[in-house]
């Protein structure tokens, strides 16, 4: 492909795209993206849920009220979250090597993604738990429910619809993060679009990647909306 481009001396689009070569790479990229996004969403999502419940619970007046712990967690989350992910990826390198053993490849990308996702989720979870009516929690306490039981059977179910929408929002953030994995050899759709599209002046490839990502986001958002709508009907 490269040869033909040079031989012509001009840049023509689409017609030059050799899908027989690109197709397996595209499939591999989709696989890598899904791998990174899914693992990050599960690991970061769960850890973030726990951290978010902790943030919410230690808030003044809440179940595990503890001003010191809340303050510390709050500051940590506020420090980590605004760091641009591409810089975070680089900054985390020593930690990634210590934990994963390498700083290159898909796994090496997943680790910092999980860390960032945990912090992002925690804030989203906290923000969606705050509006839960404290009266409902008091009612559960008056029935003799334990604190963990209240979190699991009352607090989270009461906030479930907004939480699901928050996770759909997170999916988009994580997809965004995965696009930067290419910088550390993580592959994925983002890397595919940059390496085979942008850098080779092949807009067809770039747009193929973009469209696939749009479809992915739309599908996830539609599912989340449907679930949330169903829950909110109550």
């Amino acid at each position: 492909m490269t040869n033909t481009l040079i031989a012509d001396g001009t840049v023509t689009l689409a017609s030059r795209t050799d899908w027989s070569v690109l197709k397996p790479i595209l499939w591999q990229s989709i696989g890598q993206t899904l791998e990174m996004v899914c693992i990050t969403l599960v690991v970061g999502g769960i850890l973030g849920l726990v951290l978010g419940v902790f943030l919410y619970g230690t808030r003044p007046g809440n179940l595990f009220e503890n001003a010191v712990v809340y303050r510390i967690l709050d500051i940590i989350v506020n420090i980590v979250r605004p760091i641009p992910f591409i810089i975070f990826l680089a900054a985390m390198q020593p930690v990634t090597i210590a934990v994963i053993g390498t700083s290159i490849g898909t796994s090496a990308a997943i680790f910092p993604m999980c860390v960032m996702c945990t912090f992002a989720t925690s804030r989203l979870v906290e923000q969606n738990l705050v509006p839960v009516d404290p009266g409902v929690i008091e009612a559960a306490r008056s029935m003799g429910a334990s604190k963990l039981r209240i979190i699991w059977s009352v607090l989270i179910p009461e906030a479930l619809a907004p939480l699901i929408l928050a996770y759909a929002f997170l999916f988009i953030s994580v997809l965004d993060m995965s696009a930067m994995a290419g910088y550390i050899g993580g592959g994925g759709l983002g890397n595919f679009a940059i390496a085979y599209g942008y850098q080779k002046f092949d807009q067809t490839v770039t747009w193929t990647a973009v469209i696939i990502m749009i479809v992915l986001v739309q599908v996830v958002q539609a599912i989340a909306n449907a679930i949330a709508k169903h829950l909110l009907k109550r």
């Binding site: 009516d133 409902v136 009612a139 008056s142 029935m143 003799g144 059977s153 179910p157 479930l160 109550r234």
Partner: protein, 460 residues
């Protein structure tokens, strides 16, 4: 293991309590929140509850009345230990719960149901699942759960709404679900925190009837906190009045109603019951009617203290005899009679005319056995405040503007200002008189239609 033991202890203790014996005892209870809340550095934090000693007996419907900020919510939350006292002890069902650990409290709380002003139903659970929740916490077998939920739905009359979500119900229905949920684990005590304050008067009566049934049929002791005197009047048998964290007055509901001692109590009673006209209305009546305008307080019974000594006597019981005896002409102008636990109480305003000396003699005779407020005539009016003060009865002074303030001491200050009511309060008075018309059994005798309807009812 500990939980089971704790529960057995609770059950054993509860089993020993007979109707009429203390089930809840507050002993010099103080609750003081951290000073940070008041925002004033160095200032002592206000005491939400200030040295309260109070006994509630098994089988009571015990009303605790006070303005918001009076400390009644805090007090009631100490019964199920949602709040712990700063000092003093709280004994419930024979257990000193003010020193219990959180782990022991959890099974204990299942013996005490609680309902709320905003119902606090789980919005993502169906009606049936809301009621089932405490049963799940108590580890009931599934088929027992099912049966109990059906029983409770039937008891509160919501069987056909089992699979609905709370948002699909009306306020009254929501509170009935709240009651069913609170009763699920067969508690011995039900705490009602402003349970009817978010409901309209009709629904309030409905819910109060249900609570009465809970008390009478299931033998559940009810502690009811409210700022509405008519709620206390409708179902409670005993009442405590709270102001600025203290219990300022307590006793049998009828006694407190008929012979209130504290200004704040008088004020609450004036909002719920009284046939005493306000100043404006008296002025109008004087203009319209030539004779002597007199309000007679009606009390069907004597009120006695614990030893049977009369505190305050019946009033207005011989008025018909006296009218006949002295030959005065009377016209009924205004009034209202309420029933408090089945006993009539209120005031009727008459115009008495006839020979001047006859009227004077008649009023002297009437005043012997009754409380009488003499407003005079058009020519010789007696100023409103003077007339009322002379009679020594409660004036219908309405809620102070700052009753909803955060500082509980505010309510107390305004209580002292009781006598300084002026015309600028008249709009407020009117508003409260409108409320009065919602009170059961109350007839505005200035409205001929109401009287007609009333006499028709009586004929039937």
């Amino acid at each position: 293991m500990n939980q089971i033991k704790a529960r057995e202890a609770v059950e054993a203790a509860a089993g020993r309590i007979a109707v009429g014996e203390p089930i809840i005892e507050f002993d010099h209870v103080v609750k003081q929140y951290k000073a940070a809340r008041s925002g004033r550095k160095g200032a002592a934090a206000p005491k939400a509850v200030d040295d309260v000693s109070l006994t509630i007996n098994k089988g009571d419907i015990f009303g605790i009345i006070g303005y918001s900020g009076a400390g009644k919510s805090t007090l009631v939350r100490m019964i199920n230990a949602l709040e712990q006292p700063t000092s003093g002890t709280v004994t419930v069902l024979g257990e000193r719960i003010s020193s219990m650990s959180e782990g022991k409290l959890r099974p204990f709380r299942q013996k005490i149901g609680m309902i709320f002003q905003q119902f606090n139903l789980f919005s993502t659970k169906t009606v049936a699942d809301n009621i089932r929740f405490p049963l799940k916490l108590d580890h009931w077998r599934e088929d027992y759960q099912e049966q109990r939920v059906r029983e409770l739905l039937d008891f509160v009359g919501l069987s056909e709404h089992a699979d609905k979500y709370p948002s699909q119900l009306s306020g009254g229905q929501k509170q009935r679900v709240g009651i069913a949920r609170a009763l699920a684990t067969n508690p011995q005590i039900l705490l009602a925190d402003e349970a009817t304050s978010a409901l309209d008067p009709e629904t309030t009566t409905e819910v109060l009837e249900l609570l009465k049934r809970v008390n009478e049929q299931l033998g559940v002791t009810i502690v009811l906190i409210t700022h509405q005197m008519n709620v206390v009047q409708q179902i409670a048998n005993r009442v405590a009045v709270m102001s600025a964290g203290k219990v300022v007055e307590r006793g049998d509901v009828y006694d407190v109603f008929a012979a209130p001692k504290e200004p704040i109590t008088k004020r609450f009673i004036a909002t719920a019951m009284s046939g005493l006209p306000d100043e404006q209305r008296v002025a109008e009546m004087r203009k319209q009617w030539p004779g002597r305008i007199v309000t007679v307080v009606i009390r069907q019974h004597d009120i006695v203290d614990g030893d049977g000594k009369p505190l305050i006597t019946a009033s207005g019981q011989n008025i018909s005899d006296l009218i006949a005896k002295f030959g005065v002409t009377s016209s009924l102008l205004y009034g209202g009679i309420d029933t408090v636990r089945g006993i009539a109480i209120g005031a009727i305003t008459y115009e008495f005319s006839g020979d001047q000396s006859h009227v004077d003699e008649f009023l002297a005779a009437l005043a012997k056995d009754s409380d009488v407020v003499d407003f005079g005539t058009k020519e010789q009016p007696v100023p409103y405040a003077e007339a009322v003060e002379k009679a020594g009865i409660a004036t219908p002074v309405m809620s102070p503007d700052n009753a909803d303030g955060d500082d509980p001491h505010d309510a107390d200050d305004s209580a002292i200002m009781n006598d300084s009511v002026a015309t600028d309060e008249s709009s407020r008075l009117k508003a409260d008189w409108n409320d009065l018309e919602q009170v059961d059994d109350m007839v505005d005798v200035t409205d001929p239609r109401a009287l007609e309807a009333r006499s028709e009812e009586e004929r039937q």
